[in-house]
């Protein structure tokens, strides 16, 4: 199935070409409320989803792949984005290839903080200290509510109308399921629409599909080990 390259002029649906957010940024907006910036899922699941999104960014840029359950660097040239550069450096400096689960857990520890800061650098969110005594600490409030709602809206539109999804959108749709965000983000969609989503995820290239499956399993295990 022909895929549209992310960032290219062709975009999903009828919307004009906009400068596309990076995958983790899109996931960040999807995973938080567009007005209040409150997380839509518990911290661990959110962290795992964002960690997966960061790995996904590297995979879309052909810097890394997943081979037999391990994350392997295939091209060490630093990407343009600062956070991507940091993540790739961390991947390169590990003495041995580690399994996906370990990377998800490790990146997940700091992912929310880092992706929030990246969005802040680009003026898309504003940082406010959490008012009540909360474990999560910082709150990032979207600067523009409509911009924050855009990734969700575009995805829902594309799914409902069964438009062709590019890789980044398909991964985003898959990570939403993996992180347990279906009910909050993809509510009200018909069974067939969700199957269309599942089909798009299932037909991704194997490493990308593996990333999503491993993320889903990691999130599921947080429930079973009572560490949700």
């Amino acid at each position: 199935m022909p895929r549209v390259r992310p960032g290219s002029a062709q975009c999903i649906g009828r919307y004009p070409a906009v400068s596309r957010l990076l995958l983790a940024d899109e996931f960040f907006f999807v995973a938080h409320n567009d007005v209040t910036g409150k997380p839509r899922q518990h911290a661990r699941a959110l962290g795992l989803g964002l960690g997966a999104a960061l790995l996904g960014e590297m995979m879309l840029l052909r810097r890394i792949t997943i081979d037999r359950g391990s994350v392997v660097v295939i091209d060490g040239h630093p990407p343009g984005d600062l956070l991507g550069h940091i993540v790739l450096d961390q991947l390169l400096s590990e003495p041995a290839a580690l399994d996906v689960r370990s990377w998800l857990a490790y990146l997940g520890q700091t992912a929310r903080q880092r992706v929030g800061e990246r969005l802040e650098r680009f003026g898309r969110v504003a940082r406010t200290p959490a008012r009540r005594l909360k474990r999560s600490g910082t709150h990032w409030i979207p600067v523009s509510m409509s911009d924050a709602a855009m990734p969700t809206a575009l995805l829902r539109h594309a799914l409902k109308n069964e438009h062709s999804l590019d890789d980044q959108t398909a991964i985003l749709a898959g990570l939403i399921d993996a992180a347990g965000l279906d009910e909050t983000v993809l509510w009200g969609l018909s069974h067939r629409t969700l199957q269309y989503r599942d089909w798009n995820v299932a037909t991704l290239m194997t490493p990308l599909r593996d990333l999503i499956i491993e993320t889903g399993a990691a999130v599921g295990n947080t429930v079973l080990t009572h560490r949700a």
């Binding site: 518990h42 069964e162 499956i213």
Partner: protein, 502 residues
């Protein structure tokens, strides 16, 4: 020859290690699910009363050793198998997936029975507590339904009361239990401390199966440590040490408390006292303050146990829902990560049971708590027995670094002993329930596991034929999708072509 530079340290491994659980955290996790005072004040007096046996303390010691032996193989297999948190997963890996589903069915029945049984203990004590302290008089089932409502709400929201609260309550429970034990020993009947009730040889009487079943009830929950294997700091040692420590601690507490009761009230009369006073006989061991503290903590302990088992059943059904063995709707979670559909189902069952018992007017402490609780424990005994042989067959087929003791000798000895214990329990079931031999209850209560196992195995075989991808993932829980790699059925030919609407 130039020396090779030392390998670079892994930053990721170090960072993840900081988040891992140590022995203390795992022990607390296990103990808070066991809620010791529930057994000490609930099960032990009822056991004395219903079975008429004075050797309850000896039974705890014997079962502790048996479970420690079982843990050798169990923990070893947990180290080698990825994400096998529950007994049925071990059974599936060792004895085949269809048998695994049978094990899952037995487990779901057993843990549900254990959970609803607690409402039968809570109702009476809450009723008498409220009547004594506040002058409020209401039927046992009013209190049970109240507790049910709290458990239901907490189950849908965030189930875990924070670990700190549980840790504090647990510590106080243990302190009070030890204090009551010492008080009981300080005032022995006839000014002579008899160790007769501790002697294992005294168990060799008719009805020993009943005492053993009660002892197993006290230890249910010890298997929880294995669930945390992936989160443990030292994969080879943490879970093993935590399991043995928990078993030792539980054994000391239960054997000690039940022994103190036999010592204080006299070996020959303890049964009579239990039949008259019930849980009160435990609190009467101490002075007014200790007695009051004991009663209050008994109530909180029951709550903690209700929540713990409710949570456990919920997660069990969640795992089965993830695999597709049970309807996938059971794998839906709330924002807090609690399995809300499974939680609601378990709550519905609890409600139905309380209502039935209230309408029929059956005795909550004996017919609900003790009967269903010990039957639940019998189910766990069956699971442990089958798991011990599953450990042997698993290691026979898979290479591992485990020693012969871990993978064969200990599990085989355990299996033989457990089969004997199972047989003893079945043949003494009437004594356990306190009913005449041959009663319907003594046949049907253990019989439900036979039915559950058959239904489970049949369902497993049906899955093998109709849904091989689900069958393949049996026992994998949240990792089911990783294993089954299901090819997606192409529903609509239009999905392949690019949409022209760009």
């Amino acid at each position: 020859m130039t020396p090779t530079p030392p390998p670079r340290a892994s930053v990721v491994t170090a960072a993840l290690a900081r988040d891992r659980l140590g022995v203390r955290a795992v022990v607390f996790f296990v103990m808070s699910g066991i809620a010791p005072l529930t057994v000490v004040a609930g099960a032990i007096p009822t056991a004395y009363a219903v079975t008429g046996m004075a050797s309850i303390p000896a039974a705890f010691l014997v079962v502790a050793i048996l479970l420690a032996l079982f843990s050798v193989g169990y923990v070893a297999m947990a180290r080698n198998v990825k994400n096998a948190g529950a007994f049925y997963a071990f059974i599936a890996r060792g004895l085949g997936r269809a048998v695994g589903v049978g094990g899952a069915a037995v487990a779901v029945v057993a843990y549900n029975l254990l959970q609803v049984a607690l409402y039968g203990a809570f109702g009476p004590i809450a009723a008498s507590y409220a009547a004594d302290k506040f002058g409020i008089h209401a039927q046992w089932w009013t209190w049970s339904l109240g507790a049910w409502a709290v458990v239901t709400v907490l189950g849908i929201m965030r189930v875990e009361v924070t670990g700190r609260i549980l840790a504090v309550l647990l510590s106080m429970e243990l302190l009070v239990t030890i204090a009551l034990t010492l008080e009981g020993l300080r005032h022995p009947a006839g000014h002579h401390i008899s160790v007769a009730s501790l002697e294992p040889t005294k168990l060799a009487v008719h009805g020993v199966g009943a005492a053993l079943a009660v002892a197993i009830l006290g230890f249910v929950g010890f298997e929880g440590a294995a669930v945390l294997t992936e989160e443990a700091r030292h994969p080879r040692r943490t879970v093993a040490i935590a399991t043995y420590l928990s078993l030792g601690l539980i054994a000391l507490v239960y054997a000690g408390a039940s022994w103190a009761m036999a010592v204080h009230y006299g070996d020959a009369t303890v049964v009579g006292v239990a039949q008259e006073q019930g849980p009160g006989m435990v609190f009467a061991l101490g002075g007014r303050f200790l007695s009051s503290a004991g009663q209050t903590l008994y109530i909180t302990s029951l709550f903690a146990a209700m929540l713990a088992f409710h949570s456990f059943v919920g997660r069990y059904m969640y795992a089965l829902g993830r695999e597709g063995v049970l309807p996938r709707v059971l794998s839906h979670t709330s924002r807090k990560g609690s399995p809300k559909v499974a939680s609601a189902m378990q709550s519905a069952l609890g409600f139905a049971v309380i209502v039935v018992y209230a309408i029929e007017g059956w005795n909550p402490l004996v017919n609900l708590f003790f009967w269903l609780g010990t039957t639940g424990a019998f189910g766990i005994l069956l699971l442990i027995t089958v798991t011990s042989i599953a450990v042997v067959t698993y290691f026979a087929r898979h290479n591992s670094a485990e020693s012969l003791w871990h993978r064969s000798v200990a599990p085989v000895i355990t299996f033989v002993l457990l089969v004997m214990v199972t047989w003893l329990v079945i043949t003494n079931y009437a004594t356990l329930l306190g009913v005449p031999p041959g009663s319907a209850a003594a046949r049907w209560l253990p019989g439900i596991y036979y039915i559950a196992a058959v239904v489970g195995i049949a369902w497993g075989l049906i899955l093998k034929g109709t849904k091989p991808d689900v069958y393949k993932a049996i026992g994998w829980g949240a990792d089911a999708a990783v294993v089954n790699n299901k090819p997606f059925a192409h529903l609509d030919p239009h999905w392949a072509s690019p949409n022209t609407e760009v």
